[in-house]
Symmetry: C2
DNA sequence: TGCAACATTTTTGTTTACAATGCTGTCTAC
DNA sequence: GTAGACAGCATTGTAAACAAAAATGTTGCA
């Protein structure tokens, strides 16, 4: 599969972007060895530029480089996943707090309605459309981070999530997780709607801790 | 000033490490232009390796690269400093929480004694030795992060702090800041000593918010 | 003198070539 | 038949050469 790129574009970023996507979706599975020469051939650039791209991917924590032995896609063990979730709890909590403080409460009205009892989101889950639910949830999440107006926070969450994207999706389909998630999402978005930043943060953090607990219980099925 | 390095060492990391130190201490002031050729000459390596080092520094947020115009040391404005502090509040809070949960309460006894009313730390401040206080505080901070056993969190805090190292020191010498810091540090370390993770986190976050407030009041003197 | 166009120099961006290291497969000795 | 040594190959690491872009300097003209 050759994803050749037009010469007149900034291919540098394209290499990094393409590889981020492939790795975070497990299109290239964890543990895979990465050949500099192959990538150079595929993207039609010299190895030097591939190596610069690899430097960035390494710093993003997506690949691991062993001197004189090349690079391979990082493989997260359960310990690392829990580490990431703890960091994520802190950051997502703060994002919710800041978003609540900075955006007018009406901002969240549309999500309140989507998530209300007997509302569209609940209907999605009743249909078993976990994927659809996840998509809307992701949009809401991005909206919150946008409203938090904090690029530093946003960057950290980004780099965290691209490492656990696949795992997050798997957690969603664990027994009872989606339903529990719905109730918890409803809880924190309602707090945001009333402008109670402190409470919204607490509820958001509880939501993530609840996901961690589910993950812990079913850990053998995830990795 | 030539900081030439022995050939048989891993100079790659040395370039990055050296530059991180210089930038975070403002040995190279914000806004300075960085010449690839000069660095190559100084470290005795080719420009190729310098460029790889710059790629990493850029991703760490220490330098800014403009295509075809080279790299320069990042210059933080007040907005960005506040963004960083908000992220830091979340992360340091979580670090305190995790450390309290994971390490035995006796771990913190030595710091409780250092910080107690009329104790050595208070004496330091009475002597006006803010620098000395800061050094011990930094050691305690590192100990907490170590006890939190979360490399992801640790890495994020690291990358945040090296961008605001100089500013953090300046905040310490603001009127009344050191004394207020002492009281707040005493409060959260005491909570850690009693094993109350929730309360310790709250107090730690309050401590950082208090620093933010001081910074806000004296913002014109800082930047 | 001011300034605009062009030439020169400097600096960055990219490729190519070379060196060093690790891996693999074969051959030999026991 | 197996273990160890050695040779050849593949891959990574580094440097140098080349290309392109931007910055600077210079000249000519109004």
């Amino acid at each position: 599969m050759k994803a050749r790129v037009r010469k007149d574009e900034k291919v540098e970023v394209d290499i990094v972007a393409a590889m981020r996507e492939r790795i975070s979706t497990h299109a290239i599975p964890p543990g895979s060895k990465i050949s500099e020469a192959h990538l150079a051939e595929e993207f039609g650039v010299s190895r030097t530029r591939v190596r610069e791209a690899l430097t960035e991917l390494e710093f993003r924590g997506l690949i691991k480089r062993i001197p004189n032995r090349g690079a391979e896609v990082i493989r997260l063990d359960l310990t690392q996943v829990f580490e990431i979730y703890d960091a994520r709890e802190a950051l997502e909590g703060m994002a919710v707090r800041l978003a609540t403080q900075k955006a007018p409460p009406e901002t969240w009205q549309e999500w309140v309605e989507l998530l209300r009892e007997g509302g569209p989101m609940e209907k999605l889950l009743e249909k078993g459309d976990v994927e659809g639910y996840f998509l809307v949830y992701e949009r809401m999440r991005r909206r919150i981070i946008e409203a938090a107006e904090n690029p530093v926070l946003a960057g950290m969450l980004d780099s965290i999530l691209e490492k656990t994207r696949v795992i997050m999706r798997r957690v969603q389909i664990l027994p009872g997780r989606a339903a529990a998630g719905l109730a918890e999402h409803r809880a924190f978005i309602n707090a945001m709607r009333t402008g109670d930043a402190e409470r919204a943060e607490q509820l958001r953090r509880a939501n993530i801790r609840s996901a961690i607990a589910t993950l812990k219980r079913y850990q053998n099925f995830i990795l």
